[in-house]
Amino acid sequence: MLPDLGRYSSEVTASYIVSLGLLALLIALTLWRGARVRRALEEMEARRRKETGHG
């Protein structure tokens, strides 16, 4: 069902792929780092709460 893109199909598809690829990369990185930091912070706070709880 792809529309035929005439002579320039390669360029158009390429540009779409590249751009969406870049966007995907950016989003992936964002979410990944977000998750990592959140996890690290949570366990850190858990540890602190335990310590202050003990002391």
Binding site: A14, S15, L22, G34, R38, A40
Partner: protein
Amino acid sequence: MQTSARLLPWTVGLAAAGLVVGLVWGFFFTPDDFRQGSTVKIIYLHVPAAMMAINAWVMMLVTSLVWLIRRHHVSALAARAAAPIGLTFTLIALATGAFWGQPMWGTWWAWDPRLTSFLILCLFYLGYIALWEAVDDPDTAADLTGVLCLVGSVFAILSRYAVHFWNQGLHQGASLSVAPGERMSIVYRMPLYVTMAGFVLLFVALVLIRTRTEIRARRLKALEARERMG
């Protein structure tokens, strides 16, 4: 934090919607331009990306100012969060532009003023990000990058004029504005508007997420430091 939390889902949803609709519409359901053939479809990526690339820098400029004047930490972090997004958009504009240039101008790259000034903008993004990465005390980094952003903006504008002075280009002007010359027909413009909206929302969404991350990261850093101090 709370406000952003409430805002987030909406922006994400809308961004997704806008992008999908606009791009699908643009990619599948628009006729080919009689001159440019199917390449006109590139515009749905190219223009919004280019637009947002510029606006992202403006946004960084504003937030940096807010930080430098009001010492509002979150805004500094927002600036930091925005930079990579702006960079990505710049790259997209460049890439799509390049792919567009191949059929239209017969070359991947021409030292056209607008293209050149975009390349320079790309460099500014790189420098800005590199500085953030290089300095490890958060406040110092925020201040330095803030100063850099101000000075950089001035020079970016300077460069733009310099470049125009240096070479008159073959890149089309802002045909969305009420330009006298060829205006894109409604067929092309509707999906374009939608994608633009999509890009804007995407930008907002990403900035929100990344800013939240930065804030968490910073708290994390502080707590680690305190732990080391015992």
